[in-house]
Symmetry: none
Subunit: 210 residues, 4 copies
DNA sequence: CATGAATGAGGTTTCATTCAT
DNA sequence: CATGAATGAAACCTCATTCAT
């Protein structure tokens, strides 16, 4: 499984640093627009204008509007990953590490809720090949939790049948992300803290940790 | 909370039975198209042709493409609800009813997975006012489970703090629906039965049912 | 050799008579524009406006700008053919028929000079498959003269080796058409009549008719 | 009639030798591209890249894409002229010189067929003023044959009314060039040699040379 | 002298919607 | 009530040209 697969998007501009910088400009302008109006209702000219560049310049750095969407998805995933991996968490055992990680993940989902939602809603507009890459990334993030669960299994702090590891990891992710895609209901009734604690409790039950 | 709120969509055609019939035609053609190509990439002309009517006729029965999307969402919700309520489940107590209901719901999600996914992905294209109605319906379905939980609390078969009822109901829904929106990962590793049983187990833990 | 091969251009409009009529409108507007400014410098919007229809309507009747070019070429060829075949020429023998036909062809080239030129200059902008059809038509027209030459050979009024028939036919066509594509030089020095008679003389030499 | 009229194309670069050299680079790259894809479908960037220079540099040596086309036409004409005039043909009289010249011309057309075709097809994309220059050159080349005809008239080896000289010269050119622009038909049936001999015969008839 | 990043006017095409029949 | 021809706003994208470095 090739990790960190990235789609190389050709650019007519040669200087890689410039490409990086301009694309960041574009992506950051685009996320906001996509969050606001959705991918389809955002025009390329709006993206260009919001990026502070001309429409022609935009197309010097990518090849299609779908490329923008891909870059946005990749950007969001990298933001998530950055937050999940930036500081090595100190924990006594796997179970504690898990709890801390879940809390950090939920906080991150809350912080990036518009972005997380965006991925949920616009991902299907990607061309199939690109979609696969984005889902792969999603799986990689899931794997972060699978690894933690595994480490807990090894040190005995987590009891979980091996075949359940993957599913539990997915559950963690989904129960986190639902904080955004069900926010119209959840935010009315629960604070992020209440929500987090309750879901942590639920998830801990799953791993037979009394 | 007005139950079963429906948006009345004006039609130039007067005979209500005809309206009903034609709209069903339209909706059933549209769901398939939306599932296949997404809302935005489906044209009104395609919808008309697949419905077996002319494009002009289409607009006799609704006012915009978004109306089709709304009707499709409503149709899907009604299909889900039909399956969830068609046969009164016989159970000794709330807990058993809950388990049976969850299984039924998961089976339903599996059966209608394309439709459920559709709601997840295209809902955001609805105009805000209409979106609210769709979310309301989603909440109604959630409430079905909240009610079951409540009944279990009343007969003592379920132990759950009152403030956790809503959340647990949402969890049930989301853990069911994730079978569709994470199918790219889950279907590779689990059968519907394995998946269902595992998630049921998890959810039962939540309600302290030993 | 399939004669009169035509490319069927799909139309979203069903009524074939209407399609025929509108396409004629479009084509006649387009020829003038193409003659004036060339294919590439003419915009689809100009074509629509000159046709007296909206740009959207234009695309109801064809699928691309190249389709317009093809229709224009087909139209021009049909105009040429119409003139060449409308009245059966009365002649004593093949030789006389040939002379009369040449004169008629030259007159036709003169009358349609802008159109003939257009085919010379814009044909290469057609997609390969379509280009083939247009060249086929050009060959068909050439064949008209090959047939006449053949008839003269049969009745003895024309002496020409069989293997030279095709080439002579091409010569007739080209010596006619050059009246348009070299007009910048020829029209300065010769009238159509002078030109025609001189070229007829030349061509008659070729067929050893003293 | 000013002979060898050339349009001076301004260059921002001062060194005339460098200008000459770079322009040759550009032109030779451009002909191939134009032959391949046509003038309109070739981009200036492609021309620059194929020339081995930057797009900015390209514009140091000319002022517009049309300039490239003009230079290409001039280049082609000079190539033709070079071949037609490089070796002084030795002949007994005008008639023989004519025949040798025709053969040489046809061979040249065959050798440069893509280029000759290019001039036929893209010339109309030149701005009017420039077009005139190119046509003038075309006429100059025609004049080469008119001169030969004239010399034959003087030495009695060619009988041709003075008013027919120009036309005959044009006929020679066109019957040569048609080898390229009707190649889709001619090359199927005739070899260059067959073709040449047949057309030479025809043309000799025209000048009453028994 | 050489470069290539930046630009925006303008190209082709689509498609939701209307309205006369 | 049914139809589909007509429409034009607006979408995405290209590319000749400029100009600061």
């Amino acid at each position: 499984m090739s990790k960190d697969a990235k789609k190389p998007i050709p650019s007519r501009v040669l200087d890689p640093q410039l490409v990086e910088a301009r694309r960041l400009q574009i992506v950051q302008a685009a996320v906001e627009l996509f969050v606001d109006k959705g991918f389809h209702k955002t025009t390329t000219r709006e993206i260009a204008k919001a990026s502070g560049i001309g429409i022609g310049t935009l197309y010097e750095y990518l090849q299609s509007k779908e490329d923008v969407l891909y870059l946005v998805c990749a950007y969001i995933h990298s933001e998530v990953e950055k937050r999940l991996t930036e500081a090595r968490l100190q924990a006594e055992n796997g179970r504690d590490l898990l709890v801390m990680s879940i809390r950090r993940f939920f906080a991150c989902v809350d912080e990036l809720q518009d972005y997380v939602l965006l991925i949920y809603q616009e991902t299907k507009s990607l061309p199939p090949e690109t979609l696969k890459l984005v889902l792969q990334k999603e799986e990689e993030i899931t794997q972060l939790f699978a690894d933690i669960l595994e480490s807990g299994r090894r040190d005995g702090s987590i009891q979980l049948a091996p075949q359940h590891v993957k599913l539990t990891a997915h559950n963690i992710i989904v129960l986190g992300q639902m904080w955004t895609f069900r926010r119209w209901a959840l935010h009315r009734h629960y604070s992020l803290e209440e929500y987090t604690e309750r879901q942590v409790t639920l998830l801990l039950h799953e791993i037979h940790s009394h």
